[in-house]
Point group: D2
Chain length 100, copies 4
């Protein structure tokens, strides 16, 4: 994973933090399975598109939660240690990708 | 489902069409599970964000495929029958939601 | 302009239609000039970003209005004449670009 | 401007920094005027939509440049002074708005 600056967050996620994110991802996983069933049942296209939008929105919110924790810990720690430059460049690069 | 104009596409999806979409959704489901494992393993935030971006991109492509089929069949059929107005309004509404 | 299917909409825009779009674009032009002044006055970054978001939203709405008229006229006319295929492909291509 | 944490960036923009951003905004302003002319000339909808996409992309890039400078100065300075919390919340809020 040599293209990233680190392998782990600068401050490990607590059990509670992990569970909150994983639970949100499990709900998203369930929504993706729900769409598979809608396609199998030949449901109306617009109905399917509305569900896809809902997943995109949920996924974006997970992304923002991960980003906020990243800035609060990894980026903040790097800045405090006078090593913010690379971390901020990496952050901007992923924000650009994320907003496409 | 009375907020949608229909329950099913104007032309039923073939077995082959269903399978193509479902296979793409199964891959996306696998990617969502992959992120759960990344969180469990306390992987680096940016690494996780890149994977979330990849899912968003894959999901958007499924949405565009569903939209294209919708226009090719439901919308086109409605227009040919002189009943395009409501169908086009419904399409615009979902496109706006989808692009948020 | 040989990469587009047409030079003009299948049904010409009325004076009134043109003015509505142009007025929205003039407001957007004014907003862009407003941001130039904010930069000149060295205003706070977040304040500037909020204004940029407002312009993006206004611009997106103009795009949706143009898209809706395009579907209501150019795309509908092509479909009625049995020539929807290329027009729908062109529409999907611009929708993908527009949603980036 | 009491909804923002500051009136100005923590480190003033140099003349050169201001000019770079203003020049990009002037080009965008010119592009917006160009679209007004396209509407006046009743140009093809897809042609107009492609130009709107180009402006959105240019505007997003200006937004990212402003965001990067904001993180490099205002956010970094707040973090170094142990006052990162509010600044990071404000940043997340504008990132969410910006990505809509």
């Amino acid at each position: 994973m040599d293209k990233f600056l680190r392998d782990h967050p600068s401050k490990p996620r607590t059990r509670d933090e992990k569970e909150k994110v994983i639970n949100r991802l499990k709900r998203i996983e369930g929504q993706v399975r729900g769409i598979q069933k809608m396609v199998e049942d030949d449901r109306y296209c617009v109905d399917i598109l509305v569900q896809i939008s809902a997943i995109q929105s949920a996924l974006k919110n997970v992304g923002f939660a991960v980003t906020e924790r990243h800035i609060n810990h990894c980026v903040s720690d790097a800045i405090k240690q006078g090593e913010g430059k690379e971390t901020i460049e990496e952050l901007m690069s992923v924000l650009k990708q994320f907003s496409k």
